[in-house]
Structures are given as structure tokens and as C-alpha cells.
Symmetry: C2
Subunit: 408 residues, 2 copies
């Protein structure tokens, strides 16, 4: 008989983080775990003894399938970084006391960088106090900025939403017979993976994005305006993808330029205007073109209705592989994806030392950025398999059905 | 033998305006039209002799099916209102000369208010000069603000996108264990139909939108803040839908308040900040809550990947019915939808005098708005059938495939 399991979700949600939860839950159940708890709002909720017995909540194969299709974190999330043991041992003692109460033997945490830090600290502390509890991290983030793993679950679905939406925005943007400019702002403060996904819009039936700016390279406004002027001179409408985090050569964020030194809003506060909004206004003024800004905003991370089946499946698999690893005795590890073949695409799971992945940020390699304003074929080739195939939403009453804690 | 046909698209695009084009094209072809021309960029393009022979472009049943799934205007669009005959007879003479060159007998125009005005003027002029050409309007607009017709093709798909996306935003917004506020800005300068569609998010698996503000009622900021304060006092996160066009009791748009009297941006220009962005900042300052703004922007009108099959079918049908009416001798008419039964939902097409629909704006009836901040069950009941069922996108290489003029 396998002992009790607890699983939590942390950080910003994705479209498929619940598929990893489904993978942990179903695999732990199938492999004979006694009880499977879910911590509510991650480790922060656990510290307040907030948890549920998942077997009381997820009772059918249908519900597991709904869970895979439900965006955001079913168990709720937190943005909480564990303190260092040296500075705050009490927090660790409390966590382990609660885990003992619940007779937990296996602890899984689904999240990004900070969550991997949590796994690193808890597994280290367990070693120090000779606790037999095993701690395994399950990676997720739409940003794709985790080290070691080929890519992160969550990225493929966000990339698919972005590429699909760019195709639709391009159709919409090219409709009039005079040149317009559309600047689309995509998430990614330091890493441009998501913005790069906009390049996948180019296909037999689509002109694609004209210019792509990633945060990995400094952004030159004058060259930007010159490029837009060149393209629109032919009478063509222009569609541009910019990462929210692009910076000037002097290190300032582009969106900071939207703020006049003495300018305040009606409340007397300086406002964080968006990168796309600043650039669209700038183009309008400098080139006299009709320019508009679109922020894809949180839709990028929650649009489960157009998620990638490849991503959903891999998200489920990393959850399942985490359970297998823990049950086989591993701890202080994180499950990573390893691409064993590019064409045909094949990917397997492995485990890596969590200390090698926590707090490391993986950016787009400079050799995958072409010039200042586009990406290379290699980068497109890397993302391409990750957006393939669909898992149709289960539509009820005209809308995608989800599984939620409060409503079932 | 039936003579030549010409069809154009005008105004802002929708997710299903091409399904109406498919309806016109297929019905005209099936009923034996000699040639079927498409004007490029509407009447404005036609004045420059820009047109295509559609039978050379759309050659298979598969391409018709792709056309139904392609957002935006396949033929391009224009925002051009015909002058009055009295002030500019030359324009009318030119149009009719071009129609004569092309041996056109039937003229179809797919669009909103302004396009119906075009049909009204052309059919009136035809009557005056005793031209036998028949002019029929095909309605479209996501805004649902056309008179006489029960609803407009394009509205159902936009409503389905909004309700689906609101469900996803609500899941995303409720993820943390402290109250956050999300203000979502939805299109509709004067009519609140689209914003009202956010109410459909409430279902067995979704808490729904907490507050809904339509432009039909004056917006009271103090009451708004009080309501948000009340709801978030319970620790609950709040999701709010606001129409971009909500106005203060004194008639100013809410987004105008985002502009400090002396405030200018880095370029020395006053900026049009968004309604949602203003309200989110206001809530943050007044209540100290974490608030964010999301603008659904043009995604509302181009998200063909989650369109309503009911809407696509009706859009096709109004196109087909326009051809039938014209071929049977009608002119100066517009095809409208008539709901003959609510439960089960059944809708048929009829024709109406285009002068009764042109330049009239249909707003949400005040009796369908509940208090200041929600909509009634009757309004939800009215929209509900319009978002039902799906026409799955044809996915190629992981993305929805479209039919485009330049790429085929």
C-alpha cells in the first residue's frame, strides 16, 4: 500500500496546469495511493491548513477529462516564495508538522521557477531532518523560460492561441484599402518565446507577422519607425508583434517612454502604459498612419478552448511521471521534457535535480533571432510541433465546460 | 438564364460576414447566375473598377466551407458613405456605368447601417433612372444594433467568444486567495448587446460576471465603487464587464476621465485611455485592491475559431435569401431575421424596406437592464440560442485554415 499524497499548484495559471494535476491525481490513484490531498492556494494555503481530499472531488473519468480542459489552477494558486531555512525555521517546522498530521509520504508541486525553489528547499530540509517524504516538482509556465527542460507545459497552448489569434488579427487588419498598422503586445518580460510564436501565423493562407521584437535584443525606436515606413510605403498594412518587455539600448523599458516626465493621470499618479499602445501612438504621430494597439493580456494563459493537444498530453505526462519517480524513491527532482526526435517529433520525460532548474531563466538564444525584427526558421521549427493537434472543448449550452471546486 | 451578379462587403468585419458571402455566391451559382463578381473594398473599390470574378476564385465545396470559417471580409472592406444624389449625381452615374459594363442585373451589399444606406440610395436612383438592376442588402454587424431584424448575423459569434472568454477570465481571476478585480472592456459605443453577452458566462460551472454596465444607462462612479467594495469585502474576487461607451450622467464618456485636464503624453498629445483601464486604476486607488483591465479589442469580431454555428448558418441563409428575393424581382430591400419561436428556437428570413433599417440604431431596451449593473433573464434568454453549436475550424498544421484572395 502506497501512503498519502499531496499536490499543489502555484504561480500564474496556464491553460493546461490542470492537466498536470489530472496526471498526478490519476497516476497516484491508479498506482494505489491511499489518499490524495490537494492543497488550496499552494504552500501558502497549506500553511493555513487549507486542503481538500481530491478523491471526494474528482469522481469520474468524465471529470478528469473536464479537468484537463479547465484553464487556471483548479486548486487555486499563490505567489509565495518560501523563506530560507536559516532565517525562518519555524515555517518549515510548521509545514512538516501539517504533512505529518496528514500522513503525507509524497509531495508534488506544479509551478514555475519559484515553485521549483519551494521543492528545492523542502527536499533539502527533509534531508536535514531525515524525513522520508519525497518532493517532486512538476514544471509549468506559458513563458517557456525554465532551464534543462526542452520546453514547459503551458507554452504550447499559449503559442497556439497566439498564432491562431495573429492569423485572425492579420485577416482583420488587412481589410481596408489603405495601410494600417496593428501592434500586438505579447507576454514575456525577459524571454521572447511567446512573442516568437506569432511567427507561426505565416502559412499558405496567411501573410504572417511583418515584424517581431523580442526582449532578448535591444529595441531601436528609430530603426523600428524606418522599417514600418518602408513596409507601409508599398500600400501594405503592417502587423507587428512586440514582447511586453522590450527595452531600449539604455535599459529602460519601452513602455516607460509612454510616460511624460511631468505627466500624471487624473489621480496624480504616473501610469504604466503598455508597450504596444506607446508604439502605436508613436507611429501615428511620426508616420501619419492609422495605428492601433492590441494587448493579448491574460487571454494568452487562459484560452483553454484552443489549447494544444500535444501540450495537454505532455502536461498530463509530466504529472504522471512525477508520481512514478516519487513512488520509486526519487526526491528533490523535477520532471523535464526531453525531445528525442525533431521529425517526427517525439518527447519523453526525465527527472533532473531541482536545484539546477530553480531560479534559472532560459531566454531565446540570440542565434534564433534574425536581425533585429524577426526569428529564424530554427525557432519556428522548435515551436511548430508544440502547437499541433487539438483536444476539443466539451461544449455545454454553447460554451466550454470546466471542472471547478466550488461548483461540483 | 439569369444575368450577372455583383456582391460587396462593407464596414467593420465580423467572424461570419464571409458566410453571408458564401450564401450569396453559392445560391446565385446554384440558381444559374451567369457571372458572379465580387467588388473589392466595397463600393469604393468598385468606383475604381476593382472587382474579381468569384467563380475563378472559389472553385470547390471545400473552399466554400473554408470561406464560411474565415473571419474578416474576404473581398476587403471600406468605410465609405455614398453622397446624396442631389449633391453628387456624377458618382451615381459612374457606378451605374460600371454596372452596365459588367452587365450586372443583381447587386448585393453585406454590411451594417451605412451599407444599408448605400442600398437605399442605389435602389432609389435605379428607380429614378428606370434601371432594372435589383439592389438587396444583407445585414451584418457584431453590434446587433440594426432595427427590424431580430438580431444581426455576426452578433452570435461575437457573443459566444465573449461568454467563453469571460468564463476563462473568471477562472483565471479567481485563482488567488485575496480579492482581485478584473475589469473587461467590451465593444459597443452606444448599444450594450455585446457587453450583455458576458452574462451568459454564469452557469453550473461558473460564478459568472459580478457587474455589467451597458451604455444605455448613465454610469455612476460612486455607486460603482461602493458595489465593488461590497462584493470584495467578502474576500471574493470581482469580475466586471463594461461597455467601451459607458457615459457619466453629464454625458461625458468614462474614458475621458482618464485624461487629466493638463495631462499630456510624451508626445504632448492627450491620450484616449480606455474605460476599463481608467476604472481599474480608480479601484486600485480608492479601494487598495489589485485591479487589472482587459480590452477584448478586435478579437471580438475576428475570433472565427470559436464562432457560433447558429450564427454561421443564419449568416449563410440571409445571403441566400437575398439572392432569392432579387431573382424573384425584389429591390430596395434588406433581408431580416424573424424569430418565430423562442423555445425551441426557430428563425426565418424575411425582407424589409431598406429605408426602415438604414441609419436606425437599435439599443438594448431599458426593461432588459436590471438595476444599474446587470441584465435581466429576458435578455439572457434572447441571446442564449444565438451562441449555440459550433462549426469546428478546419485545423491545418495546428492552426485554423482560412480562405484568402491573395493566397489561393
Amino acid at each position: 500500500m502506497i501512503g498519502n499524497v499531496i499536490v499543489g499548484q502555484s504561480g500564474g495559471p496556464t491553460a493546461v496546469i490542470n492537466s498536470s494535476l489530472a496526471g498526478v491525481y490519476q497516476t497516484a490513484r491508479d498506482r494505489g495511493a491511499k489518499k490524495i490531498y490537494g492543497m488550496l492556494h499552494g504552500i501558502k494555503g497549506l500553511l493555513d491548513r487549507q486542503y481538500v481530499d481530491l478523491s471526494q472531488k474528482i469522481r469520474s473519468a468524465m471529470e478528469i477529462d473536464l479537468l484537463k480542459r479547465t484553464p487556471s489552477s483548479y486548486l487555486g494558486s499563490c505567489r509565495y516564495k518560501l523563506p530560507d531555512v536559516a532565517s525562518d525555521k519555524a515555517t518549515f517546522e510548521k509545514i512538516f508538522a501539517i504533512l505529518k498530521e496528514l500522513e503525507i509520504e509524497y509531495f508534488f508541486y506544479i509551478g514555475g521557477n519559484d515553485s521549483m525553489d519551494t521543492i528545492a528547499k523542502l527536499s533539502q530540509y527533509a534531508e536535514e531532518i531525515k524525513s522520508p517524504i519525497r518532493f517532486i516538482g512538476v514544471p509549468k509556465t506559458i513563458d517557456n523560460d525554465l532551464a534543462i527542460t526542452d520546453h514547459t507545459p503551458g507554452f504550447g497552448s499559449a503559442a497556439k492561441f497566439i498564432a491562431s489569434t495573429m492569423k485572425e488579427i492579420i485577416r482583420d487588419g488587412l481589410v481596408y484599402d489603405y495601410p494600417t498598422v496593428t501592434v500586438v503586445e505579447i507576454m514575456g518580460r525577459n524571454a521572447g518565446w511567446l512573442t516568437a510564436a506569432s511567427a507561426l501565423s505565416k502559412s499558405e493562407d496567411c501573410e504572417g507577422v511583418d515584424l517581431i521584437y523580442l526582449p532578448e535584443k535591444p529595441f531601436n525606436i528609430d530603426m523600428f519607425i524606418t522599417r514600418v515606413k518602408e513596409i507601409s510605403a508599398s500600400g501594405k498594412s503592417v502587423v507587428i508583434a512586440v514582447s511586453e518587455g522590450i527595452k531600449l539600448p539604455d535599459g529602460r523599458y519601452v513602455f516607460e517612454l509612454g510616460q511624460h516626465a511631468d505627466s500624471v493621470d487624473a489621480f496624480g499618479h504616473k501610469q504604466m502604459s503598455g508597450t504596444a499602445s506607446f508604439l502605436a501612438t508613436k507611429l501615428q504621430l511620426e508616420l501619419g498612419v492609422k495605428a492601433r494597439a492590441i494587448e493579448l493580456s491574460t487571454l494568452q494563459r487562459c484560452a483553454a478552448h484552443i489549447s494544444s493537444r500535444t501540450d495537454i498530453t505532455e502536461a498530463f505526462n509530466v504529472g504522471g511521471a512525477a508520481v512514478k519517480a516519487a513512488f520509486e524513491g526519487e526526491t528533490g527532482k523535477v520532471v523535464v521534457l526531453k525531445r528525442v526526435s525533431d521529425d517526427p517529433y517525439m518527447c519523453i520525460t526525465e527527472t533532473a535535480d531541482v536545484r539546477d532548474i530553480a531560479n534559472v531563466e532560459k531566454k531565446v538564444p540570440l542565434e534564433w533571432i534574425s536581425g533585429d525584427d524577426h526569428v529564424t526558421k530554427d525557432l519556428i521549427h522548435y515551436i511548430h510541433p508544440l502547437i499541433q493537434a487539438e483536444l476539443s472543448p466539451i461544449m455545454v449550452d454553447g460554451l466550454p465546460r470546466h471542472l471547478t471546486l466550488n461548483c461540483n
